[in-house]
Amino acid sequence: MTMSQATAIPAHDVGSPGHAHDAPAHHPTVYDYDSGPPVDRAKFAIWLFLATEVMFFTGLIGTYLVLRIGTVSWPNPASRLAVGVTAGNTFLLITSSWTMVRALHAIQRGDQAGLVRWLGGTILGGASFVSVQVFEYLELIHHGSVPSIDIFWSTFYTMTGFHGLHVIVGVIWLIAVWISAVRGKFTAKNYLRVELAGLYWHFVDLVWVLLFTVVYLM
């Protein structure tokens, strides 16, 4: 969000350091050029940001795989986790990705009401995903399966926990976008912030599909 606003006003409140003795005239003009690929700055930056996220999860998942391969008797996930429930949860998250796509389509057609509706759906999807996961955690902890039991739980909580945090951030972000949507801030010509939030959301879902496969199914 900070990003998109910042781009919107490229030279916003630029203070000048020190005593600018041969500084320009009182009503200075700000020359702000635009070069490079014809992509909006904010979008470009989001892609960079997602690249760092990819590396972050590469670190986590890589660790998981190394430890798992290095451990002689890794417990079968199915024996410790409610795979069925999580499978449903996964489906929920994927659907929320789909609703996000619909939301974008809606505003691209200038359909503000549709945007609000589909965004709301996405937020609901994400929120319920988180709550299901919290519920799962509570269950597990209730049965004494805390991270310090063994390496399986250590990795499990770290992987899913960090993804969970990302989902929460995503939901908050979407809510912010949703509020502007309700205020009718977006038009068929201007929906960048919807797009940005969408990119992030799709990424989060993608990561989950990966995590679900390696942590629950493999």
Binding site: H21, V30, D32, D34, A42, T63, P147, S154, T155, L192
Partner: protein
């Protein structure tokens, strides 16, 4: 011609901008390269917004610079304490001894020594060199050198600086906590770093240390996103990538390195934090017995792999060492070319070599782990890639030398430091070849050769480049020039003492002296090395003291220095088109770039330089 610029494509462009502002987003239509929109600003800013919570890249850059320098002082003081202990182990430090170590018999305790070099290394790398290179000069120079009014995301930029504050806080508090500071080295190898019992001194300190790293990471990350976006998306018309000054290239590559390497360290340090706080077992192998106590019976998970941390850590920290030199190479290239009044020799090879250094930098991390029990076949492959990485550096060195050949050198303070960078980088780099060869590394790993190696590059190299950069860009920063005489005095002493300190460390290393020892003379093999260490220490104290000339010069020049015009060095690059110091939005005229950044001594005009933005 300036007026012409003002009455340029006024109307529609600014209309664009207004629409952008109101719309809350610049939409794709503006993507066409080289468009400009002028934004007329009339708001006045209060002191706080202007100098403290400023979003101006120039102010943020200067904030970074002073933060870095203050930390440089702190890290330097720690180095002095290290040197005292190594020269005169277990003897009371004059004056400060009784104040600092009242309850350890007024001498440095062995445990405190480990904390000293741990924090020395951490502060110098994460709070001095990287912030000074990318934070200070990255912020100040990038927009100016690409002709942009500011960073792409000024607010994010400001947050990036303020993320350094909690980092610094964590780092320092970890040193103040009871029991002392983190004591696992700047590399924080587990299990020493993860099991409290292993290093009783650093109870919470190690955790805070890890938090500090995480915050620094966040800060660098925001910076990196900003830099890359600014360089790619906000270049002045005509300024193609292949017309960028090497400084911008260096900072650009360094930013990319951070983007792709840092997140891995962040992930790793978070896992280590979890190991310490909630007792997960990522880096704790099974059935340890630390101080007669096994972590498992103490209720911690086990079954992890200590080696894993080393892989993750070095996957970041090797690229990190190039983050510490690539921008410095950029500064050196610009300063050399400018003050030698001769075009940089082989611009394209210079760019490609930086790229390949960065690329190879991602596949050599294992050279820190040759002795770690990692599969020796893997060690062999890392050996090959590591030796190959010498090649691009080789290209750079010879290109610098060729730049000087047949040039017209002006020995300004900036130039002196840039020349020293080249001389010192060669020494530091060459010792790298030794360590890259695995069989030799069997002997010299964790000896003082390593210490000599990286101090030659990081102190004798990067720090000289930083000094040079300060002398060179000071006029742009403060509109005044630094005192040349003081600058030269500072240079000579620093150069002499630096070599006295670090060159003899090679000899220590060859004699087999290993690093991180509070008292080497406990061993017969090393007993005879004490005189050498005393010589090194005395030189180090002189080196430290000599910096007073720099400090005095810096502060004196800020207030009373001789006023500088726009372009005191008759330099070609864009930052010199702006007023000194640049005002609001940096440039007061419309820029159009017509050529590369190093047209010195060109026959086209009768002065000996032809700026990028001057049309013929």
């Amino acid at each position: 011609m300036r007026d012409a610029a003002h009455t340029a494509p006024g109307g529609h462009a600014s209309a664009h901008a207004m629409q952008a502002v109101s719309a809350g987003a610049v939409h794709l239509g503006l993507g066409a390269p080289g468009t400009v929109h002028e934004i007329h600003e009339h708001r006045e800013l209060g002191f706080l917004r202007k100098y403290v919570f400023s979003t101006d890249h120039k102010v943020i850059g200067i904030q970074f610079m002073f933060t870095g320098l203050v930390f440089f002082l702190v890290g330097g003081l720690m180095a002095m304490a290290i040197r005292w202990q190594l020269a005169w182990p277990w003897t009371e430090m004059p004056v400060v001894g009784r104040i600092l170590f009242p309850n350890t018999g007024r001498v440095i305790s062995p445990e405190f020594y480990t904390m000293l070099f741990t924090m020395h290394g951490t502060i110098m790398i994460f709070f001095v060199i990287i912030p000074l290179l990318t934070g200070a000069f990255g912020n100040f120079l990038i927009p100016l050198m690409v002709g942009a009014p500011d960073m792409a995301f000024p607010k994010l930029n400001m947050i990036g600086y303020w993320a350094m504050i909690p980092a610094a806080f964590c780092a320092l508090i970890s040193f103040g906590l009871e029991g002392g500071g983190p004591a696992a080295g700047w590399t924080a190898y587990p299990p020493l770093s993860t099991i409290e019992k292993a290093a009783p001194g650093s109870l919470h300190a190690q955790t805070f240390w890890l938090l500090a790293l995480t915050f620094v990471g966040a800060s660098s990350m925001m910076g990196a996103v900003n830099y890359v976006t600014t360089i790619v998306k906000m270049r002045a018309p005509g300024l193609t990538m292949m017309r960028l000054p090497m400084t911008v290239w260096g900072l650009f590559i360094a930013a990319l390195l951070q983007l792709f390497a840092l997140p891995v360290l962040t992930a790793a340090s978070i896992m280590q934090i979890l190991d310490r706080v909630v007792h997960t077992g990522f880096f704790t192998p099974t059935n340890l017995l630390v101080n007669q106590l096994s972590p498992e019976t103490a209720g911690a998970a086990a079954g992890g792999q200590p080696l894993l941390w080393q892989h993750l850590f070095w996957f970041y920290s090797h690229p990190a060492v190039y983050i510490m030199v690539v921008p410095a190479m950029g500064f050196a290239s610009d300063i050399l070319s400018t003050h030698a009044r001769k075009p940089l020799f082989g611009y394209k090879p210079m760019v490609y070599s930086i790229m390949s250094i960065a690329g190879l930098g991602f596949i050599v991390w294992g050279h820190h782990m040759f002795m770690s029990g990692m599969n020796p076949a893997l060690g062999m492959t890392f050996m090959v890639s590591t030796i190959m990485i010498a090649l691009p550096s080789c290209v750079k060195v010879f290109n610098w030398l060729a730049t000087l050949w047949g040039s017209r050198i002006h020995l300004t303070s900036a130039m002196l430091n840039a020349l020293a960078f080249v001389a010192m980088f060669i020494i530091g780099g060459l010792s790298g070849i030794w360590m890259a060869s695995t069989p030799v590394d069997i002997y010299i790993h964790d000896t003082y050769i390593v210490v000599a190696h990286f101090h030659y590059i990081v102190f004798a190299g990067s720090v000289f480049a930083i000094f040079g950069a300060i002398y060179h860009w000071f006029p742009k920063m403060f509109g005044r020039q630094m005192n040349e005489t003081l600058g030269k005095i500072h240079f000579v002493g620093t150069f002499v003492f630096t070599n006295c300190v670090f060159y003899m460390m090679h000899q220590l290393g060859i004699a087999g002296l290993m690093r991180r020892t509070a008292d080497p003379y406990a061993y017969d093999v090393y007993a005879h090395l004490q005189p050498l260490n005393q010589f090194i220490s005395i030189s180090a104290f002189c080196l430290f003291a000599w910096q007073i000339f720099f400090v005095v010069n810096l502060f004196h020049s800020i207030f009373w220095g001789k006023r500088a015009g726009r372009n005191p060095w008759r330099s070609c690059t864009l930052e010199w088109e702006a007023p000194s110091p640049p005002g609001h939005g940096n440039f007061d005229r419309r820029l159009a770039v017509h050529r590369g950044p190093y047209e010195y001594g060109t026959p086209e005009v009768q002065e000996d330089y032809l700026p990028q933005a001057r049309s013929l």
